[in-house]
Symmetry: C2
Subunit: 323 residues, 2 copies
């Protein structure tokens, strides 16, 4: 197999922002971004230092027309040296397409919430685990280098069933690995997670499966996205999903923000003294281009408004005025 | 002296959100809120469970006309049983007014950044320390119960001078206590702090001065406000300043968000399993009233848009569609 990062970024003092805007962002908005713009986005993200990008989803085009060109976008991604390209695959059929196309990583979503799983994937969580075993067998039989990440969503609560038991999340992480996933990740699909809960669950999960817990996926629906990234980082996580311009919003809360915003997260991680390899100013410039392509869609995030810190300028009173 | 909380909220599992919207929020916007509205805000905040509120600033009315009615607002606050009312006082003259008015707490701002201190307070940091000693002597001579909090601002960087040395911040915390402050707090006045830096500095500060480091004041200028609160909480801090509706913005970054938003922070803390005594739904309702009073001003925050979680509703695909 090709040498691909399986773990959290193993370099001390480094962290990885995995761009998911081209998948999680674009699937959640009405606009279909033309393939040429997706490729321009990929190229600019790559130029800004992004080296892990989820480029789309292998689902039928009638269900997600916004991602119908995933194979084309992936083919371009595979031409960029050192770029690790992932795709979402909801089942064996999608995985077969990903294997054929040579995706580096296949992310298989599983909902820890039984209710959410049935409603969205039409499978129980354990049926998804069984599908991962089939994907693994197919991958191995094909001698493919495509790796499998089991992504456990609704890990911090669910809009349908409310609480999701931590023990059930942990059981499913282990089951995914036992079924043949190369690594696993945890997602707060619906924006319910708080940082104390994040740190607690990630610590428990890492105690159970170690470095095979390789990524964290948070939404910023209630403003806690960056706090949750920090909490997961404290638990040893160094790979975070994020979405340029926070595009996508939240299907459960119209108008609310969606994924953690790439440029805000990159700024925070760099400010924390971590090396991300990212050029934050270039990401802000790309945000502006994407904003132009997605006229009419709401972008999110905070840094674009405040800008990068600049240590000059006129005196402005903040805490007090002299009296 | 009256029994007033000097430390971080000492009750296990509790946290305190100190409302600073009536001071830090209102001083930063063009609109002057009528006194009757400030009193209605106070009453509603009290009804929503807020028990620590900064009601204004004793500075000359010509400098901050928005806060010219601080004495009236404070007088009303003192009629609310169990409410701890603080005011900002930039110097001895302001402190004398606060003592006369019977404020529970006087918050004296000090800028750890030498450049920021000279530009905004027209004093060096050590001249502010000397002023605190005079305030303490005056307070004691008057037999007043008003306590003194030294608030060290620009503790995480400065728009004028850039970096602020941690050792200098620590030196000034100790100097304020030595000069007679009853407790101290740390503020990220300009929105430069990141959570790793926050946790590191708060841990160092608590090692130095223990529970006399009693509060954290963050701005959300670059989206890290809640992450910084979580980081400070990890260092043992349980009192946080925040601003209803995030009003006030940032004088250094037009259009950017200002203080941490009260209702977002209250939601996060409650979600973390801490008891704040706050009714978040009532805070959201108050936000709407304040929004109406401040027509034309931009409010900030995230929770108001997404709303409180509700575990019902139609199925919506998030991670994937069935294929």
């Amino acid at each position: 197999m090709a040498s691909l990062p399986t773990l959290c970024d193993p370099r001390p003092g480094h962290a990885t922002v995995r761009e998911v805007g081209l998948r999680d962002g674009l699937q959640s908005i009405a606009t279909t971004l033309p393939t040429a713009h997706k490729i321009a986005w990929l190229d600019a993200a790559y130029a800004a230092g992004q080296r892990e990008i989820e480029v789309g989803s292998f689902v039928p085009a009638r269900l997600l027309p916004q991602l119908a060109d995933t194979a084309e976008v992936l083919a371009h991604a595979l031409t960029l040296p050192g770029l690790v390209a992932s795709v979402l695959v909801p089942n064996l059929k999608g995985a077969e397409r990903a294997i054929d196309a040579g995706a580096h990583w296949m992310v298989v979503p599983l909902s820890a919430s039984h209710a959410h799983s049935l409603a969205n994937l039409r499978k129980t969580p354990d049926e998804v685990v069984a599908e991962v075993a089939r994907i693994r067998a197919t991958r191995d039989a094909a001698g493919s280098a495509s790796r499998i990440e089991g992504g456990v969503g609704t890990a911090f609560g669910c809009t349908l069933q409310g609480d999701v038991a931590e023990d059930e999340v942990l059981r499913l992480l282990q089951a995914l690995l036992d079924a043949g996933a190369d690594r696993v990740s945890l997602a707060d699909t619906v924006g319910y997670a708080d940082p104390a809960g994040v740190q607690r669950l990630f610590e428990k999960a890492r105690t159970l499966v170690g470095d095979r817990l390789a990524a964290a996926h948070f939404h910023d629906t209630r403003g806690m996205g960056l706090a949750n990234c920090y909490a997961a980082w404290q638990a040893g996580i160094t790979r975070f999903d994020a979405c340029l311009g926070g595009i996508g919003g939240c299907p459960h809360a119209p108008g609310a923000s969606g994924n953690v915003t790439t440029e805000d997260l990159a700024f925070m991680l760099e400010r924390m003294g971590l090396s991300t390899g990212l050029d934050v100013a270039a990401l802000l410039a790309l945000r502006q281009r994407v904003q132009g392509w997605l006229a009419g869609e709401t972008l999110h995030g905070t840094l674009w408004q405040a800008g990068l810190p600049r240590h000059t300028g006129a005196s402005v009173s903040t805490l007090a005025q002299p009296a």
